[in-house]
């Protein structure tokens, strides 16, 4: 897992963290509101352009990698094996309705995952924490999320070390399914017990560092929330509301 990057250049770095989050959420909601069949596909294209402009273009390639198996299964399940009238495409006989449904869903996946990964690559945990602290949001939720983000790489390293350590002790984890299943306990148990053994001391330290005190936390270096940021967020909200009205009143399901 590559870490989210505060080093992303361009607009992504300069924008307020909540603007990036709002954009990703707006794309997610719009993916289900824009009129099919072309709406989701156009939205996917727009997401790609947006992340490229914002300097997190690697989200496009990563999005394709994540989406590819989903697209293949959509094509198989709905295009090739879907019901209703069929059309021939070369050697293939495709379900017309199924193919369209697959394209719509593929566009949704593409749009949402590209926008999400764009935010991921633009995400700076420190800026995010300071931004929510500046807004007076309760600290605990953002603390849990960012603390998890920080804890995960070291924990994954421990998992890797656990696998290596057990392997040098003779644990076999290649072979039949049963042999591999039996390997789960000696690999997983040390991780679980080690984590639980740390909880007390971590909890004591957090307690003495006033994490559970409540009240307003001072933001250390809050990012600027510019007029442009606020305009973008309000515009996104308006866009989502318009799409919702359009969907409820006139657009096909």
């Amino acid at each position: 897992m590559t870490a989210p990057g505060p080093a992303s250049p361009g607009l992504a770095r300069r924008a307020h963290p909540l603007t990036g989050l709002s954009t990703a959420i707006a794309v997610t909601v719009l993916a289900f509101l824009v009129p099919p069949p072309w709406g989701p596909l156009l939205l996917y294209g727009a997401s790609g352009v947006l992340v490229a402009i914002c300097g997190v273009g690697r989200a496009i390639r990563q999005g394709v990698i994540v989406c590819l198996p989903l697209w293949v299964f959509l094509f198989l399940l709905h295009g090739l094996m879907g019901g209703g009238p069929t059309r021939s495409l070369g050697p293939l006989t495709l379900s017309a309705d199924g193919t369209i449904a697959a394209l719509v869903q593929a566009g949704r996946f593409g749009a949402i995952i590209t926008a999400s990964l764009g935010f991921y690559h633009a995400f700076d945990p420190s800026r995010f924490l300071n931004a929510v602290a500046a807004r007076g949001w309760p600290m605990h939720v953002s603390y849990l999320f960012v603390a998890t983000l920080h804890a995960l790489p070291a924990f994954l390293d421990r998992a890797g070390a656990s696998i290596e350590a057990q392997r040098t002790r003779g644990l076999r984890y290649r072979g039949g399914a049963w042999a591999r299943a039996r390997a789960v306990v000696p690999l997983a148990l040390p991780l679980i017990l080690g984590a639980l053994a740390e909880v007390d001391e971590r909890a004591h330290a957090l307690e003495m560092r006033a994490v559970a005190v409540g009240g307003k936390r001072t933001p250390l270096d809050p990012p600027a929330d510019t007029l442009a940021d606020r305009t973008i967020r309000w515009s996104l909200l308006l866009l989502v509301l318009l799409a919702l009205v359009g969907r409820l009143t006139s657009w096909p399901m």
Binding site: F73, I112, I113, Y143, A188
Partner: protein, 189 residues
Amino acid sequence: MSSRLLALIPLAVAINVAIGRIVAELSLPVYLDAVGTILVSALAGLGAGIATGLISQVFAAFVSGYVWLAFAPIQVLIALLAYFAARQGGFRNFGASIVWGCLLGVAGGALSAFISYLAFKGVTAGGVTFLTTVLVGAGIDLPWAVALSSLVTDVIDKALTFALVGVALRSLPVRMISRYPLALRALGR
């Protein structure tokens, strides 16, 4: 939220991810990515379990796409059933863990199938969707194929997860487990 939960929950989420990776490394057809959620529900109660599950789902969505937030209700269900199992001594031995895991697998599989069909047209992650595709190819209608594949994979997955959490709880030293009164009840003590 107490300091203990602020220390425990990030580690539990990390356990979810790390054990999911171990299982992937072992090329096993299960996920085991709710070990931390079930563990916290059994140790610290329903609220902490739900928080762990939701943070895990948010994290998964954060790194792979917000589309996966649709499965957030599954996390609540996992925490709820794990908490209920703990109150009933559901981790007191291997057999009890498997039974409760199967129950969660049935409930979770049903809800998972519903969300998968409604929001994703039956296409979600590799293993389950592969099974769905095989079943559709064998002539089963899509909704039933989604339901069947979700149920089968979830029952196996959650039974194994409960078994693993039970082993972990029974391995904890007395001094550590006595900090969590619910865990003592989960072990039938």
